[in-house]
């Protein structure tokens, strides 16, 4: 399913999107297949599946640890596409990975593999718009969305460049850094949501872990909420993983729904 179609479907229901991230292969490829099902059952609208890279400089310690578990569990790009291709879900799938893995596979091969394994979008946190022309052309050729991030520090001219190139949704980085009070989330995020002027759906990520926060983000005008570390934390604990993933997805989705029903 295409990302745009999912957002249109949700729009008709007057509902925000829950985008759930887990790292593929954490701790094994088979676990990932089951976890994806749990997340969707709980209410996730889009699944982001990390393709683990040895040097994940843009990720916090929680996701970094998940990436290490996945690599130790034998995850490679070949296994990744096989695992994802075997998922039978009617939910848009997005690959999140670092540029070197795409570069090494060959840009066109990578994009082709995405298309044939049912992936609808690509996020590359270490690929700024300035370096993305070749990948963007291939993505449009194979009808895959290339999703870009904007940060509170993103300035006017760069913002325009990113918005003109990004498709699927725009990933808004909610706040700087890894820790901070919840009030910070609200003020800087509200401002960023207002500054990002585009027809493309806006989804906010970084540091969101419960239904109340998710509701605040949607209330501030976002079209979707991205949650990663909170799910990866559950996987790290290894206890009742499927039930808890589903429960957290449900809590987040309930928070999101509550806003639009008002």
């Amino acid at each position: 399913m295409r990302i745009g179609d999912k957002f249109n479907e949700l729009k008709r229901k007057n509902e925000g999107a829950l985008i759930a991230y887990i790292c593929a292969g954490d701790p094994t490829p088979d676990d990932t297949k089951r976890y994806v099902v749990s997340l969707i059952k709980g209410g996730a609208d889009i699944i982001e599946l990390g393709l683990p890279f040895s040097d994940p400089t843009a990720d916090g310690p929680t996701i970094q640890a998940g990436i290490e578990r996945a690599l130790n569990g034998g995850m490679t790009p070949d296994v990744y596409f096989k695992t994802v291709g075997a998922l039978r879900v009617n939910t848009p799938l997005v690959v999140m990975t670092y540029y070197n893995l795409i570069f090494k596979r060959g840009l066109e091969t990578f994009v082709k593999d995405c298309a044939s394994s049912g992936i609808s979008g690509i996020i590359v946190p270490d690929l700024p718009a300035e370096e993305s022309e070749e990948l963007a052309l291939l993505c449009s050729e194979y009808d895959i969305d290339l999703i870009f991030l904007v940060a509170p520090t993103t300035t006017g001219a760069r913002m325009d460049r990113i918005l003109s190139r990004g498709t699927g949704f725009i990933y808004l980085v909610a706040r700087l850094g890894v820790t901070g009070a919840r009030s910070d989330i609200a003020s800087s995020t509200q401002e960023l949501i207002k500054r990002v002027k585009t027809a493309t759906p806006k989804a906010v990520g970084f540091g969101i872990s419960n239904g109340k926060q998710a509701a605040e983000i949607i209330h501030a005008g976002a079209d979707g909420v991205i949650v990663g570390s909170a799910f990866v934390d559950i996987i790290a604990s290894g206890k009742d993983t499927e039930q808890r993933l589903e429960a957290l997805a449900r809590e987040l989705k309930d928070g999101i729904r509550a806003v639009k029903e008002k």
Binding site: F53, S54, D55, P56, T57, A58, G60, P61, Q64, A65, E68, L71, T76, P77, D78, Y98, Y99, N100, L101, F103, K104, R105, P125, D126, L127, P128, E130, E131, F148, L149, V150, A151, T153, T154, T155, R158, I162, V173, L176, G177, V178
Partner: protein, 395 residues
């Protein structure tokens, strides 16, 4: 020159492959560096610190006994005599001065073995700028002396406990810090690596080495050397001594760490020879030659010299290697150790194990004649820090 720094690339290498959150910081740094790099007041002040604080110019010494033994006329560029015992300070003084000109109040950096961190601490103290260094928790234990040294100079050393608790994780943590503190903080990169403008900026600050060599060799020999040999990890001492000779008829040898052999497995390389053995990739914000497996996962590199132990290399060196302007080569751990002892015994100079790789290559290559008659070796640092390692091997 102005034109050159505006491009973020060296051929197809270099660029800025970083998270969006850091892009505005790099834009600002590029702008500020372009503003001050040719500013007479800035350069006058930098010259003052290089001379009166760092002790420059460093001598170019004719190594008579070593020349006789190796069969070629060898000059040593004595960066080991720079304050702190290595070339690293040339760069940190430049960046600390830039920090002051930019009006920033704080310096952060990462360090592995502690050499760059120490150079940051010296520059931070000299300029009265608050300095904080991220260091893997494992490294803080292995390198307690360097931690203490930094702390003596007023630097705060922050142990990083995530991941493998080594350099890699220290880089991550420093990057996260910078993303939140960029308005008041300068990130001090220690080599000619990372996203633009660092490779060009660090090269410029280190070019003082090559500029001095040019004047000194003309005084002593009345001609340029036939070749210049420098060890190469990230490549800052190599770019520093090479760059002023780039348009001359001088052969430039970049000696990488051959470790215990030119072999790799799925996860590890037994060497750190990115120019010789690496493949094109994107790591730490730059497109360059990288030691990686067939999927693009980065390999753990290896070398007896901590300063050469890096899976990537400066993008300009990758470019110059492709164009044939520099010649990548390597020395193994065992060869570097042998050369280390040669220099100690024959000249009364204890070189860093990093620099010993360059000496070792001269020993190997002199006979074939490929180095010509007059060779300059960059002795990038002194070897006091390596004595335990060397003693361990002797046992």
């Amino acid at each position: 020159m102005k034109q050159e720094i505006r491009s973020t690339k060296f051929g197809r290498y270099g660029g800025q492959f970083v998270p969006e959150i850091l892009m505005p910081a790099l834009e600002e740094l590029t702008e500020q560096y372009e503003r001050y790099r040719d500013d007479p007041t800035f350069n006058k002040e930098l010259d003052y610190y290089l001379r009166d604080f760092a002790g420059r110019p460093s001598p170019l010494y004719y190594a008579r006994q070593l020349s006789r033994e190796y069969g070629v006329k060898v000059y040593l560029k004595r960066e080991d005599l720079v304050h702190g015992g290595a070339h690293k300070l040339n760069n940190t003084l430049g960046q600390a001065l830039l920090t002051r000109y930019m009006g920033k109040k704080r310096i952060i950096a990462e360090t592995g073995a502690g050499q760059h961190g120490t150079a940051c601490a010296m520059a931070g103290a000299a300029f009265g700028i608050k300095t904080e260094i991220y260091m893997g928790a494992k490294d803080t234990q292995r390198q307690r002396m360097n931690v203490y040294r930094m702390e003596l100079m007023g630097t705060k050393v922050i142990p990083v406990k995530s991941g493998s608790q080594t350099l890699k994780d220290a880089i991550n943590e420093a990057m996260r810090d910078w993303a939140t503190s960029v308005e008041t903080t300068h990130y001090m990169m220690g080599s000619v690596v990372g996203p633009h403008p660092y490779p060009a900026m660090v090269r410029d600050f280190q070019s003082v080495i090559g500029k001095e060599v040019r004047t000194q060799i003309m005084e002593k020999e009345g001609q340029l050397p036939d070749s210049i040999v420098a060890c190469t990890g990230g490549g800052s001492n190599a770019m520093g001594i090479f760059y002023p000779f780039i348009d001359d008829d001088v052969d430039l040898f970049a000696v990488e760490a051959g470790g215990s052999g030119m072999k790799t497995t799925e996860k590890e390389a037994l060497h750190s020879a990115s120019l010789c053995m690496g493949e094109e990739g994107v790591l730490h914000g730059m497109r360059t030659k990288v030691l990686q497996n067939k999927y693009g996962q980065i390999l753990e590199s290896s070398s007896i010299a901590a300063g050469l132990d890096y899976a990537g290399v400066g993008p300009e060196l990758a470019y110059l290697a492709d164009t044939g302007r520099i010649r990548p080569c390597s020395s193994m751990d065992s060869e570097a150790l042998e050369a280390f002892h040669d220099l100690c015994r024959l000249e009364g100079i204890i070189p860093a194990l990093e620099s010993s790789h360059a000496v070792a290559y001269v020993k190997k290559a002199a006979e074939s004649g490929e180095l010509g008659d007059i060779v300059v070796i960059n002795i990038s640092g002194r070897g006091d820090k390596d004595l335990e390692t060397v003693m361990g091997v002797r046992k």
